[in-house]
């Protein structure tokens, strides 16, 4: 399973270790300083009737130099550890086995595997070092899946690289971390880490055109505004402003995480996306009930 070199830890683990070290140091300093503070208050409060006058000392050069030097030393240690971990989370010189492009949009994610496009769900092989090349189509977004480690900002006109290494199979949840407008809160990410075999099978499916066809539903889609933003490979729908829907039925959620993906939710979403994601760029399309049923069933069937 573990196909990465044993010396390379997943970035999240490296950050975890460093966080524990820094956290323990911080905790010790916290206890020491707050303890000294509480002790000083307790010991020297006037209500204890200590008698006599307050002391008059007002400097101690040696002590002051000491308590300037001590934090400097601690910070020097932390800085050296920082440099090591920085190199490690960037991959420590181990080349990536795979590159995936991620593009942030208001308010969804586009992932491209050498031209094969999906949205909002990032599938990756488990235990494999991957370079995610992140950018943005509009404003600044930030790719953040906490259990996979660091985040990386996605800027328009710039390509940044984020090293991913999923330590276990399963799904990882995350979301956009840079405020990107009205629906920033509903720009969630799901990363699905699967075995190489499962991943390869998934990618083969994604590369294919639509898996089912339904002439009636496709006509509704093509006769309406849907087609100007969405692509369904195998039909003439080839818009690129919105998510590629060729295999939309295979995804777990709609609207980048706002509702689950089933026929009922899909129908409700198509009827009024603004109800679930006010401000989203998808307009409400006036469709009859029968058209909504047909379209919802069709889209969910596109596995």
């Amino acid at each position: 399973m573990q196909s990465y070199p044993a010396t390379v830890r997943p970035p999240a683990d490296a950050i975890g270790t460093l966080s524990i070290i820094v956290g323990v140091i911080a905790l010790l300093i916290f206890i020491g300083v707050e303890g000294a503070l509480v002790f000083a208050i307790w010991r020297y409060r006037a209500s204890r009737h200590l008698g006599g006058e307050a002391a008059t000392f007002e400097r101690n050069r040696r002590l002051e130099i000491a308590w300037t030097a001590a934090p400097a030393l601690i910070l020097a240690v932390i800085f050296i550890l920082t440099l090591g971990t920085m190199a490690e989370i960037n991959g420590a010189g181990v080349p990536a086995a795979m590159r995936i492009t991620a593009t942030g949009h208001q308010w969804w994610w586009e992932f491209s595997y050498g031209g094969v496009k999906t949205a909002n769900e990032l599938h990756i092989p488990v235990g494999t070092p991957i370079d995610l090349e992140v950018s943005s189509a509009d404003v600044i977004h930030s790719f953040w899946v906490p259990d996979l480690g660091p985040k990386k900002d996605m800027l328009p006109g710039v390509t940044n690289r984020l090293r991913l290494l999923a330590p276990r199979a399963g799904s990882y949840e995350g979301q956009c971390a840079e405020f990107c407008g009205i629906e920033h809160a509903w720009m969630r990410i799901r990363v699905v880490a699967q075995s190489q075999t499962e991943f390869d099978a998934w990618l083969r499916t994604q590369a294919e055109p639509r898996t089912t066809s339904d002439t009636k539903a496709e006509q509704i889609l093509l006769a309406n505004i849907c087609v100007s933003c969405h692509t369904i490979r195998g039909t003439t729908a080839a818009g690129t402003a919105g998510p590629d829907l060729t295999h939309v039925g295979g995804r777990a959620t709609l609207g980048a995480g706002v509702i689950p993906n089933d026929v009922a939710s899909m129908r409700a979403w198509l009827a009024d996306p603004q109800r679930y994601k006010p401000g989203a760029l998808m307009p409400s399309v006036p469709l009859s009930n029968t058209d909504l049923d047909a379209l919802a069933n069709y889209l969910v069937s596109l596995k």
């Binding site: 460093l18 101690n60 910070l75 932390i78 985040k151 900002d153 969630r188 995480g257």
Partner: protein, 541 residues
């Protein structure tokens, strides 16, 4: 008992005089009044934010309103509440503390106040003019460009901040000149009270930092209104340029907000410990170090932007360095208390509270200088928690310490110690309940600036605790306002020197007369009033 003795020059019933006053004390009170009013607005916005986030997937506020609320909350608290409060105290106290009759340029002083206020009014006018800015207080381009923020909110943000900033810059020149040129005989720069030192350094920081903001605002205005492309990558500009300019202002701004509060508790702690400050030279000198370093740490706000490992490492190092001069002050304050006879007045409680809470904010600040940890938690609620431990746990508690300490000087009345204790403990509990859980929320993945969160995230309970804490904090603020209003009406008369204090402002009447002193004092040490009261044990003999 006359009512509200906050001013001394006004003939009875003459209110219009406030509009044309050039007296540093009255302008100080105006600044403080402005700060209090905007603090109340900013607080209400914070309560809206917390109410919406109390439960997952709540629909109390629509996302647009929420985004306006957190944007205006941030701008308000930083630029329209904290800075005016601190500038107000500086305006009131600096001439008194250095034995001067007024600031160097009294009319300019009035101009700087009115510009600051008008900037705030312009920003708030946006609510009536089609919607407040909704792009966050640091308003990153290109989200703030016209293509993505087509309303007028961002334009009001630009205009309001530019005008407010002009006022702050003018005020900083005035205060710096006053401190450098108008000290009374014997008041060497090495003898001025530490609050004055901190104010001087703050003024220098303002002069370095605010122009960068003004420049960025002008560039954004050119982009939005004149078809420019400074921050628009599609037109050959750079989105990240805004961040460099903004944080070149934004990080010194943190110290602009923290140093004067440190100055306040550096006055309060010695007086209530009955001892001189420990390590005056270190406290003052470390602040000079902070001033220099604060202009070289801005990119620690940008570790996730992708500047490169070398750049990130450099800014990580400078950010850790600045923790050293910031940290040693904590030791100085504790050492001041050691050996003292501590009078735990409300002012002293808030000063000690500042130390206790600022330690937490400082330690989380160091963790954010550690690049890999920052990459994990930046732009999350961890940062929200950190900045509130610095700006509320630090600065605001310091301002409250200053308020209890100097209110008697400004009004002639003492604040109630009983209500003061209630105020302190409700603040302490409410504050920690609000912000302590947010560290954890951020660490497990809650980004800042989200108007809601999925129930499946499990972030509900800690958010509810945070909201309960905010409600307690609101009660604490009500107690404070009641205390102030009661004292103005019928508070115990303070006398000139209710705390048996050390510095010159306590040598004149409460409130001080026009032009402050009958005769300009001459001083021989750092604690002139102590020296006068204890000629046998004068400082610096």
């Amino acid at each position: 008992m006359t009512a509200i003795p906050l001013w001394v020059r006004r003939p009875a019933g003459e209110r219009v005089g406030w509009l044309r006053t050039v007296d540093h004390k009255e302008i100080g009170v105006l600044y403080i009044g402005m700060g209090v009013a905007f603090f109340a607005f900013g607080g209400l916005e914070a309560l809206l934010i917390r109410a919406q986030l109390a439960t997952p997937e709540a629909r109390l506020l629509d996302p647009e309103t929420f985004n306006q609320a957190f944007t205006v909350h941030g701008v308000t608290m930083i630029l329209l509440a904290i800075v005016p409060l601190l500038v107000g105290f500086a305006n009131y106290l600096v001439p008194l503390m250095i034995g001067a009759r007024d600031v160097a340029f009294p009319r300019l002083n009035a101009l700087s106040f009115w510009l600051s206020l008008i900037g705030g009014v312009v920003l708030y006018f946006s609510f009536l003019a089609g919607g407040a800015p909704d792009t966050g207080w640091f308003s990153y381009a290109p989200l703030s460009e016209r293509a993505f923020a087509p309303g007028t909110g961002v334009d009001y943000y630009i205009l309001g901040l530019a005008v407010n900033g002009a006022g702050t810059i003018i005020g900083a020149i005035n205060i710096a000149v006053t401190i450098l040129l108008m000290r009374c005989p014997g008041m060497a720069i090495s003898r001025v009270p530490l609050f004055v030192w901190m104010t001087l350094i703050t003024s220098v920081l303002i002069l370095g930092a605010y122009p960068a903001l003004t420049a960025a605002l002008v560039m954004l205005f050119v982009d939005r209104q004149l078809g420019g492309h400074f921050f628009d990558p599609a037109g050959g500009g750079q989105a990240v340029l805004w961040q460099h300019l903004f944080w070149f202002f934004g990080h010194p701004e943190v110290y602009i907000m923290v140093l004067p509060a440190m100055g306040m508790i550096s006055e309060v702690i010695p007086v209530f410990s009955r001892k001189p400050i420990f390590g005056y030279a270190f406290v003052a000198g470390s602040s000079v170090a902070i001033a220099f370093l604060s202009f070289s740490v801005w990119a620690h706000h940008m570790f996730a932007v992708g500047l490169g490992d070398t750049e990130n490492a450099i800014f990580s190092a400078t950010s850790m360095l600045i923790a050293i001069p910031t940290g040693v002050k904590i030791f100085n304050w504790i050492a001041t208390m050691v050996g003292g006879r501590l009078r735990l007045t409300t002012a002293m409680l808030f000063a000690v509270g500042f130390i206790a809470m600022f330690v937490i904010g400082g330690l989380s600040g160091v963790s954010l200088a550690v690049v890999p940890i920052d990459l994990a938690v930046t732009d999350s609620y961890y940062v929200v928690a950190h900045l509130h431990y610095v700006l509320f746990g630090g600065t605001m508690l310091g301002i409250f310490a200053g308020a209890y300490y100097w209110f008697p000087k400004m009004s002639g009345r003492l604040l109630s110690e009983v209500l003061g204790r209630w105020h302190f403990w409700t603040t302490f509990v409410g504050f920690n309940l609000t912000f302590l859980p947010q560290h954890w929320l951020g660490a497990v993945g809650m980004p800042r600036r989200v108007f809601t969160y999925a129930a499946s995230t499990g972030w509900g309970p800690l958010n509810l605790i945070s909201t309960i804490g905010a409600a307690i904090l609101a009660i604490a603020m009500v107690i404070f306002f009641v205390n102030v209003l009661r004292s103005l009406r019928s508070g115990e008369v303070a006398g000139d020197d209710p705390w048996d204090a050390f510095t010159l402002e306590w040598s004149t009447t409460s409130p001080p007369p026009p032009e402050n002193f009958a005769t300009i004092p001459a001083v021989t040490g750092r604690r002139p009033l102590w020296d006068r009261k204890h000629p046998e044990s004068r400082d610096g003999r």
